[in-house]
Symmetry: C2
Subunit: 259 residues, 2 copies
């Protein structure tokens, strides 16, 4: 009753790099967990359905938490398939639910690793501070009940740019070797009632962007002075910084690799 | 066991005009129906909770169908309350779910009737024809698998402007006295992968905007020549026109009243 022995010629397994967008609202984050709907499991199932290869494992630039969205999450995966990259993308998209989409697909160098080779990531946090919330964006922005001074937030944010120990912005640190990271870009902009916070860094601690957003909102509403971020940073104490802003305003925008 | 007779001084009942936005995705349209979630019932419940007056009935400019959104639906309602218009709005918004919001509230002339006094309405139909659907707008736009020629759609639409019998764009005509309506404005515009169709008229037949959108999309993808709308209009036959485009792309933008 066992399978007969077969001589198998293993074909070369192309290494696909996929860029995907997803609406995090109805996902329990990126990483596969038993009995929960996750982006990773959803993508792996769609790839398996298309290629009839199972199980397929994908390797992402990093996890995203429950409710966090992505515009440009990057994954790589080696799949035994004769499909070219464009055909694979179309077929996978036809098998994905409407809250995930593969935006780009290419076969890359076999050594490419979406996780280990990521050098920087850009996250965006979106806030709306109009009197009336924009209900069509309710899953994609945090509505602030307070009118915010975006200029004060931008000035306050400048202190954080560069290499610092960001322990004060880490929730429940999972014993990482170090909480030192380098923020290469941090900007706060306003257009009408919309304020968005772009943070690019070589790595992020758990909930770091959301803690920065919550802290800068406290500055923006006038609760804290602009320079207070300096004391927060120096404290190394999460309880001194602002609250963790809700996940729904957060987007993983893009992942930067060495070219 | 009956209520004792009481001397009641009936206070003046202010006539409130409310402008509201809603995301139609999870509503079975505007009009109250047994056991279904509707915008009317949701608004009336919130008004009842705030004013402790029950039942409250609101009078809208018109119904919207299941899945259709509104940016500027207008209602009027007479309520026995001492709350001023702004306070009423804030209190109602605190009692509304996050997919409906009152954007404006004022006390108007007692004679104002949101339904009977509406002279024109503007609807917008939103289409996305990019290669990759915008998943963050998936409930608020129709994704066309075909690339559309918005210029051809705009030229084809011009034929419809003015006073015509629009029977060809009416689904299951509910025996209205007449299917003659006047379209005062019809524009098709593109920005990137977004195409939007604005239709302003003195009244709309059932599914009229969605039938016009489906028809113009057939022109836009090159399936029909630009001038074909003239034959469709002349036919008075719904089966000759294009399909009814999905509800999720349709927004009631504003209602115009005689000032």
């Amino acid at each position: 009753m066992c399978d007969p022995p077969r001589f198998i010629i293993i074909p070369p397994m192309p290494n696909f790099r996929l860029i995907l967008s997803y609406d995090g609202t109805e996902f329990h984050g990126w990483q596969t967990q038993p009995d929960l709907r996750t982006v990773q499991e959803t993508l792996e199932s769609a790839l398996g359905a298309v290629t009839r290869v199972s199980p397929i494992r994908v390797n992402a630039s990093g996890r995203t938490d429950t409710g966090v969205h992505a515009i440009g999450q990057v994954v790589n995966t080696r799949i035994e398939t004769r499909l070219d990259a464009a055909t694979l993308m179309r077929a996978v998209n036809a098998n994905l639910p409407e809250d995930v989409v593969v935006r780009s697909s290419e076969v890359v160098d076999d050594a490419f690793d979406a996780n280990r080779h990521a050098v920087r990531k850009l996250y965006r946090y979106v806030i709306h501070d109009g009197d009336v919330p924009d209900l069509f964006q309710r899953h994609y922005a945090h509505h602030s009940r307070y009118r915010l001074d975006a200029g004060a937030m931008a000035r306050s944010a400048r202190i954080l740019v560069g290499t610092h120990d960001f322990l004060c912005f880490e929730t429940e640190g999972p014993n990482r070797a170090t909480s030192v990271r380098t923020i290469t870009h941090l900007a706060v902009n306003r257009f009408g009632p919309w304020i968005w916070l772009d943070v690019e860094a070589d790595g992020f601690l758990y909930n770091m962007v959301r803690a920065i957003a919550g802290t800068l909102m406290n500055v923006g509403r006038g609760f804290w002075p602009e320079g207070y971020t300096e004391s927060i940073l120096a404290s190394g104490d999460r309880s001194v910084a602002g609250p963790t802003a809700p996940a729904k305003g957060l987007f993983l925008m893009r992942v930067v690799y060495e070219s």
